[in-house]
Amino acid sequence: MAGILNFLVSFAIMAAIYAIFAMALNVHWGYTGLLNFGIAGFFAVGAYTSAMFTSKMPTGTLAKYVKMAFGFDLPFLCGVLAAGIAAGIIAVLIGLLTLRLSEGYLAIATLGIAESIRLVLNNEHWLANGPQGLIGLPKPLYGLVPPAYYNYIYLIIVVIFLAIIYFALERGIRSPWGRVLRAIREDEVMASADGKNIFLFKLQSLALGAVIMGIGGALYAHYSGAIQPAVFEPLFGTFIIWTMLTLGGTGNNKGAILGAFIVWALWSWSTFLILKFVPQGFQTRAPFIRYVIIGFLLAGIMVKRPKGLIGEERTVSRF
């Protein structure tokens, strides 16, 4: 019984972190129509920034094996804040370069930039220890309860972040600010003819979403305690989040959260089922069936429910 509960708690932590990413993507894609295929880039920037802000510089023998550009040993919240700011700054720089591109090109540009960030982290050992990544990241409020129960504390922390982000986004989206974003999504020329500086609003949307992705990255880093560049490959870092948002409902923050929980449940629980039913010899390859499941799911939603489980409400502007 305790085992199941522990599993559920760790499941909920990851699902909630993914829900934060799905809501951030919703700002970009659901409300502004920005085709961001580079979530993994902001994810990585957030995770690494927070990791390095909160870790000590390695000393003694360890310094021979672990290389880091800096380590500030600051508290958890400073790390999360820095992660959001760093991802936001990167987003503004990317936005200045790419936001004048149309949809498809923006998607390719963001995908390329995210991969570049991952490859830089992988190859520049001095920066953050290359492919081995960083380990032993500090956990907030660790020692408050026995280690066996620590995940409960972390779940509460993540849920608090999720709630704050949810309410802040709802406020923003239902305000005139969100209305301008949706107008840009519907027709940029028209929004511009209505006197809105669309470039500035797109930049704000990209930055806000990226800040949230950065925070999500930080929460992930301190939960897993270890990060490597391999975590931020496009599938795990980007496209699973797209599936979550699309399944739950593009243009609806509740949908984004719902989608994150459903897809993460399928992803993490299917492993057990697959291992149970697949013959011995195929077990090492079996986890890849999950990709097939996710692929079928995405195709199925697009055909049967293109708006997702709970799509956008008709009247979004309610302030």
Partner: protein
């Protein structure tokens, strides 16, 4: 909340009081009414000087100059491909002219972008309705007022009271305008679900939300059936008379243009062919030739 112009008894009979009422603040302007207008003497609100625009080898606009007098409906006609919409695109800042100057209210506006000309109170509509499809009719209108407090993200978090107060005012204004154009029953409908004629009315409502000083109407009658077209013409005339707005209107339907526009400018192959009253234009042999396809001689 919006412009109302009423004759002022205490003043001289040709003066009107214009009230611009935003709910929280009211401006009163007293100026000469339409009776004293004279297109010859009044300085133009919009003026184009030697505007040229080429796309590759095609001279879309070739040395066009004209003035638009304030508080009138000026028509812009010409056969397909004459460059009417291109000219609108240039005036509104969607395209930049290659050479030439455009002045609006005495200030140069060529080189400004689309949203900047809008914020100078020069509003345009589109030949093919460009409503925001997956937004409600009401949202389509509430988007329009410039410089809303709630367009700053931080204010939605830290000054929600201010944003809410303004939202109520903007909503009221939108509802009044919807009533004026007769779309109140569709306020919560997706704009994409409206009929062609209703979309045109929505577009008109949108221009009224903007409190513009000048509107560029690109074929307001396109896709509207003849019975609705009459309503549309009335609404445009009413808008101009009540609110002291200047209109430049592209039209394909001759009866609509001849009915509400004066003067009319005729464009052909990127050049200005002629300019005059509806009667002058109607009787001009060159115009007839362009429209009826005269001989090549």
């Amino acid at each position: 909340m919006y412009l109302t112009a009423t004759p002022k008894n205490k003043l001289k009979s040709n003066l009107v009081e214009i009230r611009i009422d935003y709910g929280y603040i009211t401006f009163r302007i007293i100026r000469e009414g339409p009776g004293t207008l004279n297109s010859q003497t009044e300085s133009p609100i919009l003026s184009l000087q030697n505007v040229r625009k080429s796309f590759g080898g095609l001279k879309a606009i070739d040395d066009v100059s004209f003035d638009v007098a304030p508080c009138r409906i000026t028509g812009l006609i010409g056969p397909n491909g004459a460059g009417k919409t291109t000219l609108f695109n240039i005036i509104s800042g969607f395209h930049k002219p290659d050479t030439g100057e455009i002045h609006f209210k005495g200030k140069r506006i060529d080189g400004l972008s689309l949203h900047q000309t809008f914020n100078k109170k020069l509003c345009r509509t589109f030949q093919i309705s460009r409503e925001l499809k997956l937004m409600t009719v009401l949202d389509n209108l509430m988007l329009v007022p410039p410089n809303q407090a709630g367009e700053k993200l931080w204010r939605t978090w830290f000054c929600p009271g201010l944003v809410r107060k303004q939202e109520i005012q903007i909503r009221e204004k939108a509802l009044k305008i919807l009533q004026l154009v007769g779309l109140t029953h569709l306020k919560d409908e997706y704009a994409g679900n409206l009929s062609g004629g209703q979309k045109r009315l929505l577009e008109l409502a949108r221009t009224m939300m903007a409190d513009p000083e000048m509107i560029l109407f690109d074929e307001p009658g396109a896709g509207v059936n003849p019975s609705e077209r009459k309503t549309l013409a009335d609404r445009i005339r009413q808008l101009v008379q009540e609110n002291q707005i200047t209109v430049l209107l592209i039209g394909h339907e001759m009866e609509l243009v001849m009915d509400i526009c004066n003067p009319i400018i005729v464009l052909e192959r990127g050049k200005k062919l002629t300019e005059g009253t509806p009667d002058q234009v109607r009787c001009d042999p060159r115009v007839l030739e362009v429209y009826l396809g005269g001989t090549e001689e």
